[in-house]
């Protein structure tokens, strides 16, 4: 019986793993992982998007490969092998970005190499990809990286609008707007992230309170 419903269950499981990373277990807003790139490069929307995409490529590639090789990699050297795999993908991204988007690379190139040490990526290999089949590992990687890219896009967008009065380099707020320079400086990253974390925590607390209320009412009925 279990076999009969397996494909269906597998699909929904994959969808679950994909969705959890975007919202419920968002790597930046909920798990508070990978903050170094989330702060360092998000002084403009474009930089946030490119960093999100680069991380997505690395995470998906590494998760697939780690999941594929999970029966082959000896447990004792798994972290080293994960790092080799991740570093290979990161270096690939670095070269490819230089080849296709030279101007962007000039701006955030220094941070691309640092994707290797993004704890989000190694964390997903250790906690998920090395223990699950490829389909689930890929779903998890896509979800987590989408969540990460979403977070970087939000932070980058907010900081660029307030700090530069523009979005994707297009002036939005006119000449009378005095840019909040601090928003594109490092403190702006902390301020924006702090505010977004507060908002996420508030949503979470409200949902929890409502759920608790509903159970209470139900029990009264």
């Amino acid at each position: 019986m279990a076999n009969a419903i397996e494909p269906d269950e597998g699909r929904s499981r994959a969808a679950q793993e994909l969705l959890k990373g975007i919202w419920r277990e968002n790597p930046v807003f909920i798990a508070v992982l990978g903050l170094c790139p989330a702060m360092a490069v998000t002084n403009s929307l474009l930089n946030g998007i490119v960093m999100g995409l680069a991380t997505m490529f690395v995470l998906m590639g590494s998760s697939l490969l780690v999941s594929m090789l999970r029966g082959v990699i000896p447990k004792q050297v798994r972290i080293s092998v994960f790092i080799i795999i991740i570093a290979s993908f990161v270096t690939t991204v670095d070269f490819v970005l230089q080849a296709i988007a030279y101007e962007v690379h000039k701006e955030i190139g220094a941070f691309i190499a640092l994707i290797v040490v993004n704890c989000l990526i190694l964390g997903r290999q250790e906690a998920f990809a090395s223990k699950h089949p490829m389909k689930l590992a890929l779903a998890d990687a896509v979800g987590m990286s989408l969540g990460f890219a979403l977070a970087l896009t939000m932070i980058g967008g907010i900081r660029e609008i307030l700090g530069n009065g523009s979005l994707l380099g297009v002036p939005l707020l006119g000449d009378s707007f005095e840019p909040w320079v601090i928003m594109i400086l490092p403190p702006g990253g902390f301020l924006t992230l702090g505010l977004l974390l507060t908002i996420f925590a508030w949503f979470k607390a409200r949902a929890k309170a409502r759920a608790a209320l509903e159970t209470k009412e139900l029990s009264h009925v």
Partner: protein
Amino acid sequence: MSERPQPPSPQPPSPQPASPGPMGAGEPSSLRLVFSLGIAGLLAGLLLVGVFLGTKPRIDQNRAEALQRAIVRVLWPDGDPNEAHRIESRVLRDGRLVTPEGPLAAGERVAYLGFDAEGQPLGYAIPAAGKGFQDDIELLYGFDASSDRIVGFEVLAHRETPGLGDKIEKDAAFVGRFRSLLVLPQIDAVRSGEGDQDFEVECITGATISSKAVVRILNESMQLWRPAIHETSGVASANPSAPGRP
């Protein structure tokens, strides 16, 4: 990984009960661990060599194009940056400029000589770098030897404070000042609103250090290049009042 530095023995003592590895065969031998890492490293190395070789032509082309566009922008500030111009490189060697043949020696400095439509030398695009507020500022500027003026200016790379120091490349008035700036006796950075001489640059309010850094970099670079350029092109170098071109 090297908690137990000892020669490979047939039976490595395991401090804890052998947890079944992924192969399910207990503790794997050190040889197998070394082998796995070696294979992983080898494959990763091969992959990266492939990626490097595959992207290199494109990356080199991107670099060359970026430099080419910058040269065109500083020598033909009013022209179309994508227009083709005749540009040759010149190396600074023993106080003279020579046409480079073969690969450059390490540390040799290169400038780019642009020619106008009639094939006459128009001016030099000279890269220069120096300490800014936070990190090195890299510049490229156009120099017209016949008038001893800087005729174009571009910041190639900088790490100045966004919103303040980065005005050295965004402030239209500041950048525009380098469209015709006398370099004799030397460029002078003055306070905003006080520049009335041909060789004076008004500092940007809020970016004084960065502005002064730019001026210092240009002066140092001119000290190095200007005598060599005049020496090579045969223009008398001791001519403090060279007529400015209209």
